[in-house]
Symmetry: C2
Subunit: 444 residues, 2 copies
């Protein structure tokens, strides 16, 4: 790290709270981005294989132009009439299935999930919420509790039902079996029963159909629909957290839940929606929205303001214009194939799971035992990639999964670069182990 960066880091450590963390022991200091590339102060470029927030690519000119144009005109709130927020709500309603066409705009995925749970509790009269172990749904007091990775297990509230993620490689039902989906769904049923016994009932199940924080999973086909059936039978709602899995991320479908053949009761949208601008949404049915509005007030100052809505509309335009859903499908297939080929060649890659432009490589000390590599080793791999100009991440319940989640404008040539560098890093890589315990919630 150069002297200027070292000085900046010093200043940072005295002006920002110690909660702030940096990726890599030798952090990158980015100053410019374009498409899938980001550049540091020395002009070094990095291929961004990690960031989903700049969904349509870094600094997309069409998005920046929409942002600047509307900010130069007017930025106010939804208590005055404005076209943009209505246009945006209609656009989202049109690409969501069923009756999911009634929107409330907020600023972050946290606000979206917090509101979605408030809605579910208000409408169902139940209090319990079901999530997977080591889920992450945000950082408010409420959804922080749903993010079981963020605080000690001893402090879990009793209204939280925590179930095993539907992992087909690890976990209680990982042995290939046609009843796997049913078995994992039965755990949701158990959690519902527990919440009923405690008098909470089940208000909602939150599901991220990319299972990002669980290590990026492909669930058994019938898992989500069976779980949804169980929770609905007990008067609860299905909240599909599309912050990770939505916006074409998984290829083939715009929304993650579509891969599992269900129509959720509530959908939450965040990160990719504004390609960096803080805009997010809760979309539900007219009936649920009406039942909530009867009992509760809700207003969000910045939510759906003309600038945020203009940006979100521009992102949808770019996705259409550049056919980014098709790109996520086709480039994603190339990427998946390439990663699988690498997995076949290296003992350290236990399995590759993912879809579209979201993949996880579950790294193991040996294939036979499937013992996860140490967090320190996973970080070493990510760090070696960083020094070869590739930004990737580490995720999963055991912090051993290499996470590949590039902007949607990732193309086959970028796949080639990533695979070459990954190959070079894994070639001869020896896990050293280590007890460098990952801090709570310290995803990177």
């Amino acid at each position: 790290m150069n002297t200027a960066d070292d000085q900046l880091r010093q200043r940072r450590s005295t002006s920002l709270a110690p909660s702030y963390q940096l990726f890599y022991d030798e952090p990158v200091h980015l100053v410019r981005g374009e498409g899938v590339w980001v550049y540091d102060t020395d002009g070094n470029r990095f291929l961004d294989c990690y960031n989903n927030v700049p969904s349509v690519g870094h600094a997309h000119p069409q998005v920046v132009a929409a942002l600047a144009a509307q900010a130069g005109l007017l930025n106010t709130h939804t208590r005055y009439l404005h076209e943009n927020v209505v246009d945006l709500a209609e656009r989202l309603g049109a690409i969501l299935p069923g009756d999911l066409n009634t929107c409330i705009f907020v600023c972050t995925g946290t606000e979206a999930n917090d509101l979605a749970v408030q809605i579910a509790r208000t409408v169902t009269g139940h209090h319990g919420v079901i999530v997977t172990e080591r889920s992450y749904h945000g950082n408010s007091d409420l959804v922080g509790k749903l993010s079981t990775d963020s605080y000690p297990a001893a402090e879990r509230p009793d209204w939280l039902g925590v179930v095993e993620p539907p992992n087909t490689y690890r976990g209680p039902f990982h042995v290939p079996d046609q009843d796997m989906g049913q078995k994992y769904a039965a755990l949701v049923g158990d959690a519902i029963a527990d919440l009923a016994d405690l008098g909470h009932g089940a208000a909602a199940m939150l599901v991220d159909t990319s299972w990002d924080s669980n290590g990026v999973l492909i669930a058994p086909d019938d898992y989500v629909s069976r779980s949804a059936e169980l929770i609905r039978a007990h008067g609860g709602l299905v909240i599909s957290d599309e912050v990770q899995s939505g916006y074409c991320r998984m290829g083939r479908h715009f929304w993650g839940h579509m891969h599992y053949g269900i129509v959720p009761d509530i959908v939450t949208i965040g990160k990719p929606m504004g390609a960096g601008h803080p805009v997010a949404a809760v979309v539900t049915t007219p009936e649920i929205a009406a039942a909530f509005a009867e009992r509760r007030n809700y207003f969000n100052t910045f939510g759906g303001n003309p600038v945020s809505a203009a940006v979100a509309l521009a992102v949808l335009d770019v996705i259409d214009d550049e056919q980014l859903l098709d790109n996520a499908t086709s480039t994603g297939a190339t990427l998946g194939l390439g990663l699988s080929e690498i997995a076949n060649r290296y003992e350290i890659v236990g399995t590759v799971q993912g879809r579209g432009l979201f993949w996880g490589l579950d790294m193991v000390n040996e294939q036979a035992t499937r013992q996860p590599i140490a967090y320190a080793d996973a970080k070493r791999i990510a760090t070696m990639l960083r020094h070869r100009g590739i930004l990737a991440g580490v995720t999963g319940r055991y912090s051993n999964v290499l996470k590949i989640r590039p902007p949607l404008v990732f193309e086959p040539e970028h796949v080639g670069i990533l695979l070459t560098e990954l190959d070079a890093v894994l070639d001869g890589f020896e896990p050293l182990g280590g007890d460098d315990a990952r801090a709570l919630g310290a995803e990177w």
Copy 2:
């Protein structure tokens, strides 16, 4: 309302949740803003005497330029190094008193207050929170509970201590008395004792030193300091919610709490900070920040990103360059004087309270009884103003307070326009009464 607006309103009502409300029976459809002026689709202009979010004026070119420039370069997150977030943290630390120099950036006032309470609870080990009756601090599950206006009183959690606002015109201790501050502070003491009895303890008192939702109040000089002393004596923290009162709003000082001679333990900042852009912050001492980071993880995807930070820095620059603190003080004095003169001439104005560029006119059916006018009457006044080209609001515990809170670039000539129109509206205005109960939380 013209046909196009009517069609837009129809589309709006089917695509946005019924939680959305519009100001005025005949809403305004704004399309452009500049300084203190906003314009509708027909080119009619309105003097904005309501909106504090566009703090440095609508569509300020310097802020728009900073937004566009940084968005065109890079928008990422705080896990990579970047100058902007550090510059911003240092700037805020430099203008806050005492050791308030350690920042966590978030996107909204809601997220800021939610995090501040999480910090207070984590650090103190207590659970109770004290707010004033009909306070408003945001809309997440947690801070929605602190916003006693948003839900039925029967659903109040028992960890919430709700005290009478320090109103010198209404309330239990409104008779002029040098012990008024002490008497109101004693209610905070009672609430602390109640929370102790319930086993919650007092983690924090949240105070908005403009008492916006209480009707815009000037508290007795010693109220805040006495209350702070009481809560600290019982191991709790003082959270100053500067979303309304900060950023020069009250004139003379940058922060509202400075009018009351205290240094809070935590400060939360929101709306005016980004002049429309969703950027907000929690600032606390290094000790409190460290104690929180030891026990809890916190990361906010959009919080403190290079674009948000660039915008927030530009807002601070404009405040300096255009000497907006001085303007809030001097134009504010002119405004306060003019409103007092009007109050003296009309029986319907019970009292005028406020400071700088934030004023409330407490409207009464008669001076002797101080009976608040009906909400319907307050809305009629705001609506008559709207038809005379003035945007103002209604607030207060009894929804009878006319709220004047213009952008900080409000100048004496604008004061003149406002006073002329207000005079014309109040001249001959007769309260009609009515039982048009205000919806929960339906501020306008």
